[in-house]
C-alpha cells in the first residue's frame, strides 16, 4: 500500500498532497485490507462519476453544435439541388450530358473547402440519386464528379478502416464510378462480412465485363441478408447484363449460391434454365430441393410435372408442400386427381392445406363443390379456409 501513496505523491501537486492526503496515510494503512480496498473503489468510482458527467456534457454539446452546423449546411445543399438540378430549366429538353452544370453556384454558395462540407453534400446527392431516376440522376452524377467529390470517396476506399472503405464503395458504386476491378475482387473475398457484401454489390454495379465473376469463387455462406441485399442490387441496377444463372446451379457446390440463383432465375423468368433446375430435384439437401421445386412451379414448367409427382412419396413435408404448390402453379390439370387424393388422405395439416389451395388454383368448380359436400368435416373446413377470399394465408 505504500506504493499507492508513493504514486499519488508523484502525480498530485505537493501543497494539495500535503494538506488533503498525507494526513490520512497512516490511518489508511492501519485499516484492514478489505476496508482499504473499499476505500480505493470509493475514490475511483467518485472520480469516474465526475469524469462521466464531464464527458457527457462535452460530447453532448459538441454533438449539438455539429448537428446545428451540418443541418444548416444540409438545408442549403438541398435547396440548391432542388433549384439547380431538379428544377433545372434544361432538364426536360436537352439530353442529360448536355445540361449545363450548376457547379459554380454550388462552389460559391457552399464553399466546399472542408471535409465535412463535402461529406454532407455527398450524402445529400446520394439521397437524390437513390430516390430519383432518369435524367435527374445523371445530372447529379455529373455534378458529383465536376465538384470533385469523388476524390473524397476514393480516399475513403483506401482508408485502413473497414467502415470507411464501405462508405467509399457505397458512394462510388451509387454514382457509378470506376473502381479498379482488382481492388473490388479482392474485397469480395474479404473476411469481414459487411465489407465483403458491399464489395460484391459494388462489383455487380461497376464491373464492365463480368459483373458476376465473383460467384465463381464464392466461399462460405451467402447469408439471407446478403442475398436480399444483392438481389436488390441485381434487380435494380439499370443496364446490367443479366447472365443465365443456371450456370452456377451445378458449377458451384455452394448451397446458398444455388438458392440465390434459383430466386434470380424465377425473377428474370429464365425458362431455359428449367432443365438445370430439374437436375436439382435429386440434390441431397431438402432445402435445395424445395427451392428448386418452388422455382419450377413459378416458371410453370409443365415438363417437370411428371417427375415432381413421381418424387412426391419419398419427400419430407417441406418438399411435399412445395410440390403441391408447384402443381397449383402449373395447373395442367393432369394431376388434379392426385391433388384430390392427397387432400383427402394426408394427415399433415400443411400438406392438406397446400393440396386444397392447388385444387382451388385449378379452378374446377365441380370438383370443389363435390369436395365441399362429401369430404369429411375437418377436410371441408380446410377447403373453406382456403376458399375464403378474406383469408390470404
Amino acid at each position: 500500500m505504500r506504493d499507492l501513496f508513493d504514486v499519488l505523491q508523484q502525480i498530485i501537486p505537493y501543497p494539495f498532497w500535503a494538506r488533503y492526503i498525507a494526513p490520512y496515510q497512516s490511518w489508511f494503512e492501519a485499516q484492514p485490507p478489505f476496508i482499504r480496498f473499499a476505500l480505493i473503489v470509493i475514490v475511483i468510482a467518485t472520480v469516474a462519476i465526475l469524469c462521466m458527467y464531464a464527458l457527457l456534457s462535452i460530447t453532448r454539446l459538441r454533438y449539438q453544435w455539429k448537428q446545428h452546423r451540418e443541418n444548416k449546411f444540409r438545408q442549403k445543399a438541398e435547396a440548391l439541388i432542388i433549384e439547380h438540378v431538379m428544377l433545372h430549366p434544361d432538364i426536360d429538353i436537352s439530353p442529360p450530358e448536355q445540361v449545363a452544370l450548376p457547379d459554380a453556384v454550388f462552389r460559391e454558395e457552399l464553399g466546399l473547402r472542408r471535409r465535412w462540407q463535402k461529406q454532407v453534400l455527398i450524402d445529400v446527392m446520394m439521397y437524390y440519386h437513390k430516390n430519383f431516376a432518369g435524367k435527374t440522376a445523371q445530372v447529379i452524377r455529373r455534378l458529383y464528379i465536376q465538384l470533385r467529390l469523388d476524390k473524397l470517396s476514393y480516399r475513403k476506399l483506401r482508408s485502413w478502416r473497414w467502415n470507411k472503405k464501405i462508405e467509399g464503395l457505397h458512394e462510388l458504386s451509387e454514382m457509378q464510378l470506376q473502381v479498379p476491378e482488382v481492388t473490388m475482387l479482392e474485397l469480395t473475398t474479404s473476411r469481414n462480412r459487411v465489407l465483403r457484401m458491399e464489395a460484391q454489390a459494388a462489383y455487380i454495379r461497376l464491373s464492365k465485363n463480368e459483373p458476376f465473376k465473383f460467384f465463381d469463387h464464392l466461399h462460405g455462406r451467402l447469408l439471407p441478408w446478403e442475398q436480399l441485399f444483392l438481389f436488390e442490387v441485381i434487380t435494380h441496377t439499370p443496364g446490367l447484363n443479366i447472365p443465365s444463372f443456371s450456370r452456377w446451379l451445378h458449377y458451384a457446390e455452394n448451397t446458398d449460391l444455388k438458392l440465390f440463383c434459383l430466386k434470380l432465375i424465377v425473377h428474370f423468368n429464365q425458362f431455359n434454365a428449367i432443365p438445370a433446375v430439374m437436375k436439382l430435384l435429386e440434390h441431397p439437401n431438402a432445402q435445395v430441393r424445395a427451392a428448386a421445386i418452388d422455382a419450377l412451379g413459378q416458371l410453370e414448367a409443365v415438363d417437370a410435372e411428371d417427375q415432381l409427382v413421381q418424387l412426391y412419396v419419398d419427400q419430407p413435408v417441406e418438399c411435399q408442400v412445395a410440390i403441391l404448390r408447384a402443381l397449383g402453379h402449373i395447373r395442367s390439370g393432369r394431376y388434379l386427381h392426385f391433388l384430390k387424393e392427397e387432400f383427402l388422405r394426408s394427415q399433415d395439416y400443411a400438406v392438406r392445406k397446400e393440396a386444397a389451395r392447388a385444387i382451388i388454383d385449378h379452378g374446377d368448380e365441380n370438383l370443389i363443390e363435390s369436395l365441399l359436400q362429401h369430404a369429411p368435416e375437418e377436410r371441408r373446413r380446410t377447403l373453406e379456409h382456403c376458399l375464403d377470399p378474406l383469408i390470404k394465408s
Binding site: F34, M52, P224, F229, S393
Partner: protein
C-alpha cells in the same frame, strides 16, 4: 459472566465472517458488472459500426424478406384499442400481418374493432398447435386497406400467455413479434429486429430490443412524437433501471449468447421453435423468461446450434407503473416469476449440458438476482442488531456502505452515458443530466422498494401459492392494470 463473554465472542466472530462474506459477494457482483459493462460496450460499438450505413430498404422492399406476424393480446382495451391498432398497421415492413387477440374482454373492445375496421367472421380453419382456451371466431376486414389485420376472439384465459399462444396458432408467417397493444412501437422496429435473423450463420431463435418508459413522452393516437424522460419519480427510476438492465445486462448476455430474457413487451421469435418448445406457459409469472429457457432447452437437448440476440436500439415505449400500489404488484409478480422459473428449470442450474445458460446465466440468476435481496435484508438486520448491542464499527460500516453505493451510482451513470453517446433519444442535455442525477438517490429511495417486493414475491411463492394463484394470474396483463390501478374483481 462466562456465558456473556462467549456470546459476545461468538457475535464478533460471526460479525467478521459476515462482513467478509458481504465484502466478497459485493466484490463479485461488482466485477461481474464491470465485465458485463465491458462486454456490452464492445457489443454496442460493434453493432453501431456494422449498422451505421445499413440501408434497410433492401429488407423493406424485397419480396424475399421473411413475413412477420405481429401478435398483440387485448383485454378490456376499449378506450385505446382503435388508435393502437391503427398505429400497429403503420409499421414499416412489406410482408406482415397484425393479429389482435381479444382475450374475452368484458367491455366493447371487440365491438369497436368490428365497427372501425369493417370486420366480418371468416371460416378460419384454426389449428391448435399450442393448446389454449377455445377460440370463438376469427375476423378479417372486408376493406382491402385493412387486409393486414386479423382479429381473434377467444375465451378469457386469465393470462397474456394463453392469448399470445392463440395468436401464434393463427399466425401464418415464420416469425412473430410478441407485443402488447398499449406498447408504442417505433415504426422501423420490424426492420431492425428482423435483421439479426438474416445475418447470422447460426439459426437465431429470438431477438429482443430495448424497452423504455413512455409516461411523459408526447404521444398522439399511438404515434410517438417526442421522447421525454418520465417526470414523476417512480417512472423515472424505472427508466433508469430499464436503460441499465437493457444496455448493460442484456446486450452483454446476448454477446455471450447467454440471454434468457426477451421482454414480453417486445420480442421477435422463430415460430417453429416456439411451437416445438410448447409456446408460452400460462401458469408462469415470468412467461417471457420461462419460454426463452424452454426454447433454449429444446435447442440444447436436440443439439441444434442457435442464438438469442438482442439489439440495443430503443424500439418500444411502454407505460410504467406510476403508483406504488401498481408498482408493488408488478415487482412482486416479477420476483415470483423468477423463483418459479428457477424452480421449474432447476435442472439447468450449473448443468454443462445447457451451455452458457446452464453454466453462467442460471447460476447468475440464482446468486445475484434471486439471492441478493435476501442478503441485503439479513445484512440490514445484522447491522441493526449490531447497532443495538453496540458492537458495531461505525467507520467500517460507513465505508462499506459507501463502497457499494458509489459503485452502483457509477455503473448506472455509465449506462446512461452509453445510451447517450450512442443513441441520443432525448433532445436536451438537461434531461440527460436530470436522469443521471437520479442515480444518486436511486440506491436510497428506489432500491429498497425493489428488495422489499422481491422478498414479498418469494414469500407468496413459498407460502400462499394455492391461495394467491387465481388472484395473481389475473395480472397477466401487468401493464394494463397499471393504467387502471384498481382492477375490478368481477371482470374475469
Amino acid at each position: 459472566m462466562l456465558l456473556n463473554f462467549t456470546i459476545s465472542h461468538l457475535w464478533h466472530l460471526l460479525q467478521s465472517l459476515y462482513e467478509g462474506f458481504i465484502f466478497y459477494y459485493a466484490a463479485a457482483i461488482m466485477s461481474l458488472y464491470v465485465i458485463l459493462a465491458i462486454f456490452s460496450a464492445l457489443a454496442i460499438r460493434q453493432f453501431k459500426r456494422r449498422n451505421s450505413f445499413v440501408d434497410y430498404k433492401s429488407i423493406l422492399n424485397s419480396p424475399h424478406a421473411p413475413g412477420i406476424s405481429v401478435i398483440a393480446p387485448a383485454y378490456n382495451e376499449g378506450a385505446t384499442i382503435i388508435d393502437n391498432v391503427h398505429s400497429l398497421l403503420t409499421l414499416n415492413y412489406a410482408k406482415f400481418e397484425v393479429i389482435i387477440v381479444n382475450d374475452g374482454s368484458t367491455d366493447d373492445t371487440l365491438e369497436k374493432l368490428i365497427r372501425e375496421f369493417e370486420l366480418v367472421p371468416v371460416k378460419f380453419d384454426y389449428q391448435e398447435r399450442i393448446v389454449t382456451r377455445p377460440v370463438k371466431r376469427v375476423f378479417r376486414s372486408t376493406n382491402p386497406a385493412f387486409s393486414k389485420l386479423i382479429v381473434v376472439d377467444k375465451e378469457n384465459g386469465k393470462s397474456k400467455a394463453d392469448a399470445s399462444n392463440a395468436g401464434i396458432n393463427v399466425a401464418s408467417y415464420p416469425l412473430f413479434l410478441c407485443t402488447d397493444v398499449d406498447c408504442i412501437i417505433e415504426k422501423n422496429t420490424l426492420l431492425h429486429m428482423v435483421k439479426p435473423f438474416l445475418e447470422e450463420e447460426i439459426r437465431v431463435i429470438a431477438v429482443g430490443a430495448t424497452i423504455r418508459i413512455a409516461n411523459s413522452c408526447e404521444v398522439d393516437q399511438g404515434v410517438l412524437l417526442r421522447v421525454i424522460p418520465p417526470k414523476k419519480l417512480l417512472p423515472r427510476f424505472q427508466e433508469l433501471e430499464y436503460i441499465r438492465s437493457f444496455l448493460l445486462g442484456r446486450m452483454a448476455w446476448s454477446q455471450m449468447n447467454g440471454l434468457i430474457i426477451v421482454s414480453g413487451g417486445l420480442g421477435l421469435f422463430d415460430k417453429e421453435i416456439v411451437i416445438k418448445a410448447g409456446g408460452y406457459d400460462h401458469t408462469s409469472f415470468a412467461e417471457d423468461m420461462e419460454m426463452i429457457t424452454r426454447m433454449r432447452r429444446y435447442m440444447e437437448e436436440n443439439k441444434l446450434p442457435y442464438r438469442v440476440r438482442y439489439i440495443p436500439n430503443s424500439q418500444c415505449w411502454t407505460e410504467g407503473p406510476s403508483t406504488l400500489k401498481v408498482f408493488s404488484k408488478q415487482r412482486t409478480r416479477w420476483a415470483r416469476g423468477l423463483i418459479q422459473c428457477l424452480t421449474v428449470h432447476r435442472r439447468v442450474i450449473g448443468n454443462p449440458k445447457y451451455g452458457i445458460m446452464g453454466l453462467l446465466t442460471y447460476p447468475y440468476m440464482v446468486l445475484f438476482e434471486w439471492l441478493a435481496p435476501f442478503l441485503e435484508i439479513t445484512g440490514l438486520i445484522f447491522y441493526v442488531v449490531s447497532g443495538l448491542t453496540g458492537s458495531i464499527n461505525w467507520t467500517h460500516t460507513l465505508i462499506l456502505l459507501l463502497y457499494v453505493y458509489s459503485f452502483s451510482v457509477a455503473i448506472t451513470t455509465i449506462a446512461v452515458l452509453w445510451d447517450q453517446l450512442t443513441f441520443k433519444y432525448y433532445d436536451s442535455i438537461w434531461q440527460v443530466i436530470g436522469l443521471c442525477a437520479m442515480a444518486i438517490v436511486e440506491p436510497i429511495l428506489y432500491h429498497p422498494l425493489n428488495v422489499f417486493f422481491s422478498i414479498r414475491g418469494n414469500y407468496f411463492y413459498f407460502t400462499g401459492k394455492k391461495l394467491a394463484w387465481g388472484n395473481m394470474s389475473r395480472q397477466g396483463f401487468a401493464r394494463r392494470q397499471m393504467a387502471q390501478a384498481q382492477p375490478s374483481e368481477a371482470s374475469t
